[in-house]
Structures are given as C-alpha cells and as structure tokens.
C-alpha cells in the first residue's frame, strides 16, 4: 500500500492558489523554509489515492458490524443532506444572525429531555468520554459549592475503561465494585463501599453484559441517602428508548452518545457527540455556555467551567435531531424493541454452540465467553476468521470480567437473514477449529493485509513518514 508521499514529484499541483503581490511583515528569523514532507501531487492522484484507501475499509454501509456497546447501526443518508444546510456559519457570529442554528440546539435539547425525563442538557461534549468528564465535574462542582470534598467515585468492574479514567481526570479516586453471579452490581459489596466520601456511582445500564441492573432504583436511593449521585453511562441507551425514562430509574446525570443511539456516523473513530443531561438541582452546575431564550430570541449565556471551545460538534447534532424527528416517539420505541429482539434472537441462535457468560436475561447485546473453544482457538482467532466470512467481528476481550469475551450487539438495523448468516459463520468457524484449526489461527486470509506485527509496531514505533524515511536511510 502506497502513501501519498510516494506519488510526489516536483512541479505537480493538487489545488490552484492565487498568487497575489503584496507586502509581508514577518521578519526573516520567524519564517520557516518549505515543509519537505508535504507532497506535490495532482488532484487526480489525490483522488485515486484516497479512493483506493477507502476501499480497504470495512464500514456499516458495507455490512454487519456487531461491535458490542458501540451500537453500529445504519446511518441514514438524508441526515447527511440536512447537515449540509448548516456548514457555513462562524461560531462567533452575532446570535441574531444564526437563529436557525440555535434552534437546532434548542430542539435537540428539548428532544433529549423528553427522551430521558431529565431536566437540563448541555450539548457541548465532543464524545462519550468527554461527556463523562462533563457529568462528573458537574457533580463535583455541585458538591464543592456546598463545601463538600468527596474523594471517591464507585465503578462496577464491568464498566468501560473510560469510567475509571474519567474519575481520575476529574480528581476522584475510582473504587471498583465487583459484579455478582447474575452479572449485576453486587448490592452487598456496593453497600459496603458506600459512605460519605463517595461522590457518585457510574453505572452503565443495561451494563456491558447487556444485563439490566434491576437494583438501580435501590442503588439510587442508597446513594442519595449519603448525598451521592447516580451517574449513568448512556452508551447502551439503544436498549431503553421509549421503554424507560432514565429519570424514573433515579439517575441524576447521564451522557448519551449521539453517534451510537442516535445514528450519526462514527467516521472511523469520531466525531461523536456526548450530550449530558441532569436533574434540576445539578442544572446550575453544568458547564457553560448555556442557551437561553428571551423574547423568542435564542442567546448564549456564559457560565463557569467550559470544557471545549465554542458549543459542541454541531453537525453531529443536526444529524441526530433529524433521526429523532423522522422516527418520532413511536419510531424510537420500535428501535429499542427490535434492537432487543434481534439481540435475543441471535443469542438464542448462538447458545446452541457457544457459552453465554451469564445466564441472566439480556437486552440489546450479550457476551459470549471462550469456554466452548478455548482449547482449540482463541477469541482473537475467531474474530479474525469472521473477517473472511465478510463480517466485522464483535467487540473482543471486553468486558474484562469474562474470559475471552465476545460482546455482540446486532442493533435493530439488521435483517433476520443477516443474523442467521452470522450465526452460521460462527458455527462454521467452530467446526473449522475442530477440523482445520490452522486456517482459523492464521486468519484472515481474504483481507487487504493479514495479521499485523503489533509487537514490533509498539517496540519500535514508526508514527510518521518522516520517521520511516529516516530509518530507511
């Protein structure tokens, strides 16, 4: 595979820039010479280069992508079109000139309030983890305003790594709560860890095993008793749309992932958007700026605690709003119902040959352990072999509490036929593991590149073309 630098030849141009006479005032000692690594390539070559690169990617538009807790649902095309109506405005234009933009914020805030039952939202966070940080510092700001210094955030052992990392970034110590035999937060151990030093518990519900935390209301009550808060990681909200309002679960703070639940494309790793919703008493402590309406005019009001420049990943918001508007309340409820139906159907289908980590009923996703195949192939082998069958593998080796985990989330945008074909491929690989394990252990065989040397990549990192060239010379 070639990189753009390898097409470079002096004299080629990829874009016409006017040359205009004029004065310059930057002294010579502050100027740099030309940047050598920037290529000289024609537009024709740039287009074919990136088009060829694109062809090396698997994507949701291409096919099934059952990455657990990532909600890789289909991204509606009309949403891209409507987002293109909102690309031109500079973020510092006077508000009276951009009322259409601000109305998008307002509409989305209102929709998310309606969906969650919470009282206030900020749309600023750029991603889920950014939302976690925003939500947890909102709690911290509230406590500090009352002169309370609490040190601990409780986190279940099945949680995403972002949760403990967020606690640390927000100045808290993460204390892990083990799961019980049902795959839920161990209520007794939670009670034992709960005291007045605890600021919040970060819960994912349904959790990363796809299991609904049935004690959530009780957990919330116990937290509130000691003046602590219930934070919900909304990564798995696709299971609950229209079925439950999270406010009714006793949740005080939530972040949602517009790029998961609300269908915006993930772009190969971002941009996302991680709005944070809170109950009324936390609302004054959300980071600024805040949108306010006065005489029908929407305006920004500055507030303490900014977490990024400007107001958020706006284009992602437009797409999410389009999704919510198109489906409406009934359509969103249908989303969660079919997401759960697909997941439970696929689980049932796979249970014949695979071991589900916990016997508990699951919602939108489920986790297999490697128990039925670990003596022949590894979870990684199975994942890589799935690529040969034309499927993106599930999330692997997560959650950490399941040995050789395969975390499968089909979403509502897959047909029954696709689920059946996927199950067949999984079973076929088990067969292969029995009869011809080498073919599985050396998979994938049909992808643009085979298994890559990750150890070499990390021991002697080559992170830029410049570094690569230096090593060559």
């Amino acid at each position: 595979m070639r990189l753009i630098f390898e097409y470079s030849k002096a004299g080629k141009e990829g874009f016409f820039v006017e040359e205009e006479e004029g004065k310059e005032i930057i002294p010579e000692n502050l100027l740099r010479p030309e940047i050598e690594v920037l290529p000289e390539v024609s537009e024709r070559e740039v287009v074919s280069h990136y088009l060829r690169l694109s062809a090396l990617n698997y994507s949701v538009d291409w096919g099934f992508y059952p990455l657990g807790s990532c909600t890789m649902k289909y991204n509606p095309k009309i949403n891209e079109e409507v987002a293109s109506f909102f690309t031109e405005a500079h973020p510092l234009l006077p508000e009276e000139l951009v009322q259409g933009y601000l109305r998008v914020f307002k509409e989305l805030e209102e929709a998310l309030k309606e969906i969650t039952g919470l009282d206030a939202f900020t749309l600023a966070p750029a991603a889920g983890a950014h939302g976690e940080f925003t939500g947890i510092i909102t709690v911290r700001n509230y406590l500090e305003a009352r002169g309370e210094r609490r040190e601990v955030v409780l986190i279940p052992d099945s949680a995403h790594g972002t949760n403990p990392a967020t606690a640390a970034l927000s100045g808290f110590r993460a204390v892990e709560i083990p799961s019980d035999e049902k795959g839920m937060i161990d209520l007794e151990k939670f009670k034992a860890a709960l005291n007045e030093k605890v600021a919040a518990l970060m819960i994912t519900n349904p959790n990363t095993l796809g299991i609904f935390e049935e004690n959530i209301k009780e957990i919330s009550r116990l937290l509130h008793e000691v003046g602590a808060f219930l934070y919900m990681d909304g990564a798995n909200m696709n299971a609950l749309l229209g079925q439950v309002k999270v406010a009714d679960l006793g949740v005080d703070v939530i972040h949602l992932n517009l790029h998961k639940t609300f269908s915006t494309p993930h772009g190969g790793g971002g941009p996302g958007s991680g709005p944070v919703g809170v109950v009324e008493k936390l609302a004054p402590y959300l980071p600024g700026p805040r949108l306010v309406e006065s005489n029908g005019l929407l305006l920004w009001e500055e507030a303490e605690g900014r977490i990024r420049s400007f107001y958020g990943n706006f284009l992602v918001m437009v797409k999410a709003l389009a999704y919510i508007k198109e489906l409406g309340g009934e359509g969103l409820k249908e989303v969660s119902e079919i997401a759960v139906l697909n997941s439970r159907y696929l689980r049932k289908r796979l249970e014949k040959k695979f071991k589900v980590a916990y016997p508990t009923e699951t919602l939108h996703e489920f986790v297999l352990s490697d128990e039925t195949f670990r003596d022949k192939i590894s979870t990684l082998d199975l994942a890589k072999r799935l690529l040969d069958y034309g499927f993106h593998p599930p999330t692997v080796y997560f959650p950490l509490i399941v040995h050789g985990a395969l975390m499968i989330e089909p979403t509502e945008t897959e047909s029954r036929e696709t689920l059946d074909r996927f199950a067949e491929a999984m079973e076929k690989i088990l067969d292969e593991a029995e009869k011809d394990p080498e073919v599985v252990k050396t998979a994938p065989h049909s992808t643009p590149v085979g298994r890559l040397d990750e150890v070499g990549a990390a021991r002697k990192p080559i992170l830029t073309w410049t570094q690569y060239k230096e090593k060559q010379d």
């Binding site: 004029g22 390539v41 309340g329 992170l463």
Partner: protein, 444 residues
C-alpha cells in the same frame, strides 16, 4: 417498521415465537415493572423524507448571515475547501466505520491517519503527532496534563492565549488541584517575559502561537527564560495555516505543540466538529494522550498500519491512563490529510502567504484611514485595531451596514473594550477589504 429496520411484522412474530414470547413487551421483562411507568416519548414523527428536509430547510432559513461580509477568526477560520475533500470524505468507507480496532479491514482510515500524523508533526516541527483530539482547547488542556506527567510544578499560561482555551485549561487543571498562573502581555502584544522570569517551580508555560491578538510570539526569548528554569514550552495554535509560514514550535525546542486544525478542510459549521492536533517529542511518546497509528508489517511482510502504544489508553490502563479520551475526530483528521495532500508543499505556503498579505493589506488601509493598530509585534492573518471608542457599539453599527467586523475583545479583556480583533483570509477579497475600511472610516 421504519425504513431503517429490515424486519417484517412476520419476522418479528416468528422471532418472538422462537424466543417463546408472545409480545414485544415481554422482551423487556428483565426491567422491573415499576420502573416502566410513563415511558412514552411525545415527539411527532416526520416520516416523509421531503417533509423532514423541508423542516431543516425552514430552520436554515431562520439564519440571516449569508449576505454579510464576515471578518471573523478568533479560533475558527473561513478557508475555501476544495471540492475533492468533500467528495472523498463523504465515502461511506471513511464515514461509517467505527474506530479501527480490526486493522486488517481498516487500512484506509489507518493509512490516512498516519498521513495526518506526519503532516501535523511536520507543521509543528516536532517528531510525533497523534491521531487527533476533540478540538484545540481540550487538546491544549491535555497538553498541560501531559506536561505535569513529565515535570511536576505549576502551569503558567499567557493571558494572550485564546480566552476559551484558558477557561478549558482552568476546568481541566483545577480538578487536578493545579493552579494556573496567568502571564500578562506587554504593550507590543507579546508575553511579558519579566513576569515569567519571576516564577519558580514551573512545570510548563503555555503560549498561543500566534496569540489571541494575532501576534507572533518571540518563542526564542520565551524559551530562553524557560530553559533556565527547566520548564517545558507548550504552544497552542488555533490558526494551523500559520504554521505553513512561521518557524515551527519544534524549532524553538517546544516540548508539546497542540491546537486546532479546523483550517485544514473543515467547514465552520458553527463550531464543530473540528479537529484537535497534538505533537511532541519521541522521548515523551508514552506520556501522550490519544490514539496513535504506527507503521508495521503483516505476516507476509506487506506494509500495514495499526493502532499502537495502546497500553497508554483508558481501555487498558483504565484509571491510570494518560487521558480518558476514546472517540476522537478521526474523520476530520482524514479530511485534514486529504486537504493538505491537495494543497501540497507549494500550495499550502502560497495560501499562507495570501492570507498574510491580505491581512497586511487591510492593516495598511486601516492605518491610512487613521485607525490605530493596537500592537506593534508582527501578525499572521489577524490583528487588533484600537478604535478609541466602544468596540461592541462600533461593530453593531457596522453590522447594520452588512459587515461582521471582527471580534470585540472587551468580552474577555476589560482593558481592551475599545479593541476589535479583525481576521482576513483568502475568502475576503481585496474589494471586500476596501469596502470594510471605507465603512469603518465613515463610522469613525
């Protein structure tokens, strides 16, 4: 079912039956009944695509900036985006995958990200750059946190750093129990070195390059002060195009250069998504936040790319990670790579020069018209005018005449309430600049 759900009513019934269930409700029987109260979402659907489109068109018609001449920058810049950028980036293969956890089927995103890393390292004059951060302000805050991992101590920040970036720094650092010391600016718009000299126990100094007044800081002099203290130089750049022309932070032995690369192929889009960049030295690479793409070989010796040095990150180190960042702005970084490839070595420099010359042209016209430039130090494509009267009011009156004339600095700097930050890019023609100056002169 909605058009996005390829399940028929009959499928649904059969699948429920296979599960031994008789209704959709029963799928959710693991949720305690008393929690499933008033769950109905009261939002009317807009099932017709035409109606949905019309709804958003009607919202966009509530905007009224399209006929204005805009001279705004201050952290986000009007630059022309070659059509090929939109064309390529809109490919589903770039737009709709997740993070490249399976490198065998993600070489497109990984290779383009590797190119982006190469570009950002080169532009900043540093050895390595990551795959992207959310945007410039949080990237700068992460730079401060990384500096603290290299060297404990206080963090000093130039008062001339972008005000929003300073606020974000404060948010991130105060949660770590670290104080921010602000360093004032001198009359010429540059950092007051004497104030910097007074500090001891310094981890790092963070300075805008160029700063919020458009002024190009004297990094050599700043580094002179920092070297003696053993403190790190951290730069933040929100007009990344300036780095095509200016001697890069790396040339002044900066340890970290962070910032915003919106200028490289991203529309203004009212503030996002943009793309943060983050560059540093090889020796600090394990202390970096964010994803990194590395070059390697596959089992047959073919070139390939992977996410690497992942043990720094939250999914492995959890509470000990260098950052909590997971999703970044990968797609925006791909746009950046495409943009920079198109512009290339010559084009990018020409564009930077064009921006600079337009701004110099404007500054000279304004001077001739009797306006005073507030700061004497050199600038790239934006500068501050001292109007001698209230800048908010002046801007309001210019708006009535169809001009959005810059950013009034009094909002963030009470001592500069008569000052306007004006920005000029290739999108502001010489005729428009002349018209602006004429109107300003008329209002004087």
């Amino acid at each position: 079912m909605s058009r996005y759900i390829p399940i028929t009513q009959r499928d649904r019934e059969e699948m429920l039956k296979a599960l031994g269930l008789s209704s959709g409700e029963e799928l959710f029987s693991s949720i305690p009944q008393d929690l499933r109260g008033k769950s109905e979402i009261k939002i009317e659907p807009l099932r017709s695509e035409a109606a949905l489109k019309e709804y958003f068109l009607s919202l966009s018609r509530q905007n009224s900036f399209q006929d204005k001449k805009v001279f705004l920058g201050a952290g986000a810049y009007y630059h022309y985006i070659p059509y090929a950028v939109d064309y390529l980036a809109s490919r589903s293969e770039f737009l709709t995958p997740y993070t490249p956890y399976q490198p065998e089927v993600s070489q497109g995103t990984l290779a383009a990200t590797f190119e982006f890393q190469t570009y950002m390292a080169a532009l900043t004059g540093l050895e390595v750059a990551n795959a992207s951060m959310y945007e410039g302000a949080s990237a700068t805050a992460e730079a401060a946190l990384m500096a603290l991992r290299i060297r404990r101590g206080d963090i000093a920040v130039a008062r001339s750093l972008h005000p929003q970036y300073r606020q974000v720094l404060r948010t991130y650092l105060e949660k770590q129990g670290v104080e921010l010391v602000e360093i004032p600016f001198r009359e010429d718009g540059r950092v007051d070195l004497n104030s910097l000299k007074e500090l001891d126990n310094l981890s790092a100094f963070i300075v805008g390059y160029p700063n919020f007044f458009g002024v190009i800081e004297d990094l050599e002099a700043i580094q002179g002060v920092l070297k003696e203290k053993g403190a790190l130089l951290v730069t933040s750049t929100w007009e990344a195009l300036s780095l095509a022309l200016l001697k890069p932070p790396g040339a002044f032995a900066a340890s970290i250069a962070a910032g915003e690369a919106q200028s490289f192929g991203l529309p203004l889009a009212y503030g996002g998504p943009y793309v943060g960049f983050f560059a540093t030295l090889k020796k600090y690479v394990w202390k970096m936040p964010g994803r990194l793409v590395g070059m390697t070989r596959d089992s047959q010796g073919r070139r390939g790319f992977v996410l690497t040095l992942s043990a720094r990150e939250q999914h492995i180190r959890r509470g000990r990670a260098t950052s909590n960042i997971c999703s970044n702005e990968a797609w925006c970084a791909v746009r950046g790579a495409i943009y920079l490839s198109l512009l290339g070595k010559k084009g990018l420099r020409k564009l930077a020069l064009l921006n600079h010359r337009r701004a110099v042209f404007a500054s000279e016209l304004l001077s001739e018209a009797g306006f005073k430039l507030a700061f004497s130090a050199p600038f790239f494509n934006e500068f501050v005018v001292d109007l001698g009267g209230d800048a908010e009011e002046f801007r309001r009156r210019l708006l009535e005449r169809g001009f959005v004339a810059g950013y009034p600095l009094g909002r963030d700097y009470p001592e500069l309430k008569n000052h306007l930050l004006l920005t000029f890019t290739e999108m502001n023609s010489r005729q428009d600049i002349e018209a602006l100056v004429r109107e300003m002169e008329a209002l004087k």
